[in-house]
């Protein structure tokens, strides 16, 4: 129960003090059934009021009594107590959480008892402990232990440490077979390079750098220098200064030792002679042309094309000076000169020995000439062959107009004129001599290659589609195949079945020329990127061999009809003759050996040899060049 201290001056409540209940702090329910509720100080019973206040009394009291709010019921005495003003005030203060005592100052100034300032007198006046006057037993025990250890010799005084290293025979029990603890791949460090004469303090004079060399040396980066130091000459040992980079060099060696990856480099110790392949001697592969024996002069501009007659007696050449010349092979005499109306791109002698016809192409025209050279019978029979033509009943529209030459032109030798829709670059005869093919390179149409039949004066366009810019074409010597070379591929068509049989990949950038072996199984392709590709048609569509003999673009290639020879002419002015033996036994690879480099043509306007062709029977080769000459090598 709330104990309220009473002010002594409160005389009115003094009486109340006397009737204080002495039962103590017990539940008042215990006195429920008794008339009294406890005992006062004198031991007399304190009686309950006769009549308990009921609810109505309570209500009336609340309504009427103005001091009701400050009246508190005291359970122990069962009486109502009216609180004094002081008491009410105290209750209010406590409810607000303030101190009960009005006079208590909660904000008194604090006084630091312990300060940071050092005082001269102790704060406490406590007398010292006894233990501070008595020696410690624990310490005594420890010390006695140490003393005992020292007595027994267990502890020795600290010796100064040995700083100099001790050496002994480390390899006393060395195992000669011992391998290095690790390292399957241990590479011992290479030794330093030993100095040469140039490092001497007094080197021979030739090792000293000249002024220019010294300047070059100074301008070079340290890595690029051949010598890491400048050779110097001192007249005597006394004059030699300290080498300023000594510590650097040693440090770099250290870095090399622990930072450089080591690698065993196999040095190729090859005798260069062993690398050269053993080829059969050219002497054993004779005959082949070896020397230049004739020069055919007469043209005034570069000679684009040459062709030999099937008998081997005559040679025809076409040049940029608008002329076609006929030469006697053996003497070098110019038998005939024909002016045509343009730069001659290509000439081709009919391979049939019974016919004397030469195809010449310039601009948009292909001209068939009868040079009237050689056997008169052959000449006249050729003329007859041409005049014997009978026009067919129904005229077919043709891509080319055939015109028979008459009069003056006929006397000059012109026989037939084929006017093409576009400029013609190449003409080629079929082996039988009746068919003729002309090439009109054009990237945008299918009319690039035409095949003409002379006896029937008929023209065909074999291709419906454009497969790229046609470089050159050729007939198979024996079978009805037709070879068309575009920039990078050679396509082989079957003319009878009218289908593509093969497409050869040349691995070249731009094919310039092509020739077919008289056996028909091999083909060579020259290209502007200095290569010559040899194909074996039975083997693969890839080249059997690539030859990079020339230094510059190849312009012409040719096979010999009888001998196992082929030749190539290039812009470097040389003709290279190779021995290209093809065996009947299919298991044996062709033998290709270069046998001769023929030089003679001069290079004019970066052009050297423009065309090569072999003599039909002899192992001779003709070459025409940009220096307006034709040369015969025998």
């Amino acid at each position: 129960p709330l104990f309220i201290p009473l002010a002594q001056s409160d005389m009115k409540d003094y009486k109340h003090l006397d009737i204080r209940n002495t039962v103590g702090n017990v539940p008042m329910e215990w006195y429920q059934d008794y008339p009294h509720i406890g005992y006062n100080l004198d031991g007399k019973k304190i009686f309950k009021p006769i009549r308990n206040k009921d609810e109505l009394d309570e209500f009336l009291d609340k309504m009427e009594n103005p001091d009701y709010w400050r009246t508190v019921h005291d359970k122990t005495t069962a009486s109502d107590i009216r609180l004094t003003d002081e008491q009410v005030d105290l209750v209010h203060r406590l409810q607000k959480g303030q101190f009960g005592d009005v006079n208590f100052n909660e904000y008194e100034p604090s006084v630091d008892f312990f300060t940071n300032e050092v005082m001269i007198h102790p704060v406490t006046n406590r007398p010292q402990d006894k233990r501070s006057f008595i020696p410690s037993l624990i310490e005594k025990e420890k010390v006695s232990k140490l003393v005992h250890a020292i007595k027994m010799g267990w502890i020795k005084p600290r010796k100064p440490k040995e700083t100099t290293p001790q050496y002994y025979d480390l390899w006393a029990k060395e195992d000669p077979n011992a391998i290095l603890g690790r390292h399957k791949m241990h590479v011992p460090a290479p030794k330093m390079r030993l100095p040469g004469h140039e490092e001497s303090y007094n080197p021979p004079p030739e090792y000293l750098l000249t002024e220019e060399e010294r300047l070059v040396w100074e301008q070079q980066d340290a890595e690029d220098r051949k010598l890491p130091f400048l050779p110097q000459k001192h007249s005597c040992l006394r004059a030699v200064p300290a080498f300023s980079r000594f510590i650097h060099e040693r440090f770099e060696r250290c870095l090399d030792l622990y930072l450089c990856p080591r690698q065993r480099k196999m040095r190729v110790n090859v005798n260069p002679e062993d690398l050269i392949p053993k080829l059969p001697k050219p002497k054993d592969l004779q005959p082949f042309p070896t020397t230049m024996s004739l020069v055919y002069r007469g043209h005034t501009s570069l000679v684009r094309s040459i062709s030999a007659s099937p008998t081997g007696q005559w040679l025809v050449s076409g040049s940029d000076d608008f002329t076609v010349r006929f030469w006697e092979v053996n003497t070098g005499r110019c038998m005939k000169t024909l002016e045509v109306g343009g730069a001659v791109k290509s000439v081709a002698w009919n391979p049939n020995p019974a016919v004397c016809l030469v195809a010449v192409c310039f601009e948009r025209t292909v001209l068939l000439l009868n040079p009237s050279l050689g056997d008169r019978l052959v000449v006249s029979s050729t003329d007859q062959l041409i005049t014997a033509y009978e026009p067919p009943e129904e005229d077919k529209e043709q891509a080319v107009t055939w015109a028979l030459s008459e009069g003056l032109e006929h006397n000059m030798g012109h026989r037939l004129t084929l006017t093409h829709p576009k400029a013609v670059k190449q003409v080629v005869w079929h082996g039988k001599g009746d068919y003729l093919s002309s090439v009109m390179p054009d990237n945008s149409s299918n009319l690039q290659v035409l095949i003409h039949q002379v006896s029937k004066r008929r023209t065909q366009n074999p291709f419906r589609k454009n497969k790229g810019l046609v470089q050159c074409v050729s007939f198979h010597p024996l079978r009805p195949y037709f070879f068309v070379a575009t920039q990078r591929y050679v396509r082989v068509y079957n003319l009878i079945k009218q289908e593509l049989t093969k497409k050869l990949m040349t691995n070249c950038k731009w094919i310039s020329s092509m020739a077919i072996h008289p056996g028909g199984d091999n083909l060579i392709c020259g290209s502007y990127d200095c290569r010559l590709a040899w194909f074996d048609l039975d083997l693969s569509t890839k080249p059997y061999k690539m030859l990079r003999h020339h230094k510059k673009a190849l312009r012409g290639v040719a096979y010999h009809r009888n001998y196992p020879l082929f030749a190539s002419g290039a812009d470097d002015g040389s003709v290279i003759v190779c021995h290209g033996m093809v065996y009947n036994d299919l298991l044996q690879n062709p033998l290709i050996v270069p046998v001769k480099v023929l030089k003679g043509h001069q290079i004019t306007h970066d052009l050297g040899v423009l065309d090569v062709t072999f003599h039909p029977t002899q192992p001779w080769v003709f070459s025409s060049g940009a220096d307006t000459t034709i040369r015969l090598f025998t």
Binding site: L180, E206, V240, L259, C260, P261, P282
Partner: protein, 588 residues
């Protein structure tokens, strides 16, 4: 079908290599410690064959170590010592910070150290292995021993290096195994043959170093730490092979001789002994006192054919070596104060000479300048005031050149004030086609026993002779030029000829060489052969052609260099000759 999918970079070369950073993490070491460990254990990076595969597809430049190497480092006891040291440093720093001076002292006393003995044994399982790898150790120790005692590294290291190098020099002197010496602009190269191994080292000239700032001395110090350990063990073993006391002691006789009166003035007692040793003027004490080393003769076995030839060659070589060892025996040298004392004393003692020097120069001089028995005095100054008649005054280069020539060279060229002949490197061995300086040819002739060309005669005669010589030399050089080069030149010649011929040819003319004298036929044959070769070269495969071209390029380059040197020499000689003539003209 079936089976787990193979993951990339989990097998093969990618797992055989480890990058440096990963290795460092695996070993839990700092980069500096890792570096130290690699140096001590001799681990170096490897260049993988397929870098991209190993680098897991990336092309970033990385250093790779073999994984097995790093695993091998993992159980190296020194790694633990490194960690202990790290802890020690930390504790020490803390103690310093707290100003616990007793703690600092205690820590200092218990500083963890390590020994490298087991590493040396592991890296060099046999003594010969170690000896083979001692070149760098020698050069490094010689460099460190010349460092000043302050600054760049611990004084103990420097004194240890000095001690070891002195021991080494004493060994070389005692075993007389020095073979070649070379005065270069960097320093002095020495080559010794120890137990059949050729060992070369470089000693800097005695100057104070100006220490470069871009050199990491920690790396050098680590190397030196390893090298000193290795070097000490090798020295011990070498002294053992010669029955010498290790650490070296002076002969009792020599010691008493060297006892100077005012030794204490010269150096502290602890240092003077090392100084006396380094003076190299006295012989060392032996474990078992032997009178004189008996000559070890080659035992003769009856042999046949090739073996016999080999044997004879070996015998001859042996004899030559013996002769070289006694090159300066019986000569008495005196070193002037301006010549490098240590290197000259070392060399002269190696070849059996007696050496002395001025007392104020160094401890250990045994006789004075005034000694009448001195045969040679080595001088490096233009002139001397007081000269004795019965001795040669020569420049130091004579000693070096004589050692390299394995004979006492005529002293005339090396007299006081004369222009010295060029000093050639003894390490150059000319192969066929290399440039041989004329001085070397002269020397070789001298070694063969031919008389040197008489000089000091009439100058004109000399000139003529020189010219003759020149011619001869040129011929020699020509002879030695590569036959290959010749062929090439010839080929070029023929080609040129072919060209001219081809241009000249007119039909009907008889070719001049078809008429055929003998010479023409020979030439024709050669031409044919050359052409054959050219054609065969055309047919070479691409790869072989590349290799062939490379080889030929190299050959051509060497000949070009040789030609350049010869031309330079010729120009120089012409210039000097004309100068001489001018002088003569002036005189007249």
């Amino acid at each position: 079908m079936g089976g787990l999918q193979k993951k990339k970079y989990e097998r093969g070369s990618a797992t055989n290599y480890i990058t440096r950073n990963k290795a460092r993490k695996k070993l839990q070491l700092s980069l500096a410690d890792f570096r130290r460990l690699c140096i001590l254990k001799g681990i170096y990076p490897h260049e993988p064959k397929h870098k991209k595969k190993v680098n897991k597809g990336s092309t970033a430049p990385r250093t790779f170590y073999l994984f097995k190497d790093i695993r091998f480092l993992l159980h190296e006891p020194i790694v633990r010592k490194f960690r202990e040291y790290k802890v020690f440093v930390r504790k020490l720093r803390k103690a310093y910070g707290k100003a616990e001076w007793t703690g600092v002292e205690r820590l200092r006393d218990n500083k963890p150290g390590y020994k490298l003995d087991h590493i040396i044994k592991e890296r060099y399982p046999t003594f010969i292995d170690a000896l083979r790898d001692i070149d760098d150790a020698l050069s490094m120790c010689f460099l460190f021993s010349t460092f000043a005692r302050t600054g760049k590294c611990h004084v103990q290291t420097i004194t240890l290096c000095r001690r070891l190098t002195v021991e080494w020099m004493n060994y070389v002197v005692t075993s007389r195994s020095l073979r070649k010496v070379f005065l270069s602009i960097k320093g002095i190269y020495y080559q010794a043959e120890v137990l059949g191994q050729l060992i070369t080292w470089l000693v800097p000239y005695q100057f104070a170093h100006d220490h470069p700032t871009d050199v990491d001395y920690r790396v050098m110090a680590t190397f030196t730490e390893m090298y000193t350990t290795l070097f000490g063990f090798i020295n011990f073993r070498l002294y053992q092979t010669l029955n010498l006391v290790y650490p070296p002691k002076l002969d009792s006789k020599a010691e008493s001789e060297l006892k100077a009166e005012h030794e204490e003035d010269y150096a502290m007692d602890s240092e003077s002994y090392l100084e006396k040793l380094s003076a190299l003027s006295a012989s060392l004490a032996r474990v078992v006192a032997t009178a004189e080393e008996e000559e070890n003769q080659l035992d003769l076995f009856p042999t046949e054919g090739e073996d016999q030839e080999n044997m004879q060659a070996r015998e001859k070589e042996q004899k030559e070596q013996e002769a070289q060892k006694r090159l300066f025996e019986g000569l008495k040298f005196f070193l002037n104060r301006e010549v490098p004392r240590e290197s000259l004393a070392f060399i002269l003692r190696c070849f059996g000479a007696e050496v002395s020097w001025d007392k104020s120069l160094c401890i250990g001089g045994t006789y004075e300048v005034t000694d009448e028995t001195i045969t040679h005095q080595i001088v490096d100054r233009p002139d001397m005031d007081k000269q004795y008649i019965n001795r040669y005054y020569i420049q130091p280069q004579w000693v070096f050149d004589s050692v390299n020539a394995q004979m006492r060279l005529p002293v005339e060229d090396y007299f006081l004030g004369t222009t010295l002949p060029p000093h050639l490197s003894p390490f150059v061995e000319e192969k066929d086609g290399d440039y041989v300086p004329p001085e070397k040819l002269k020397l070789m002739a001298l070694q063969r026993g031919e008389k040197p060309v008489q000089e000091e005669e009439d100058e004109e005669e000399e000139d003529e002779e020189e010219e003759e010589e020149d011619d001869e030399e040129e011929d020699d050089v020509d002879d030695e030029e590569l036959t290959e080069e010749k062929n090439l030149k010839k080929m070029e010649g023929t080609r040129a000829q072919g060209k001219t011929l081809a241009v000249k040819v007119t039909p009907g003319k008889v070719k001049p060489w078809e008429t055929g004298s003998v010479g023409n036929k020979v030439r024709l044959e050669q031409e044919e052969k050359a052409e054959e070769k050219r054609l065969a070269i055309m047919m070479m495969k691409k790869k072989e052609k590349y290799l062939y071209d490379k080889i030929m390029f190299g050959k051509k380059r060497t000949t070009r260099e040789v030609n350049k040197l010869t031309a330079k020499r010729k120009a120089h000689e012409d210039a000097s000759k004309s100068q001489k003539k001018q002088k003569k003209a002036k005189k007249q």
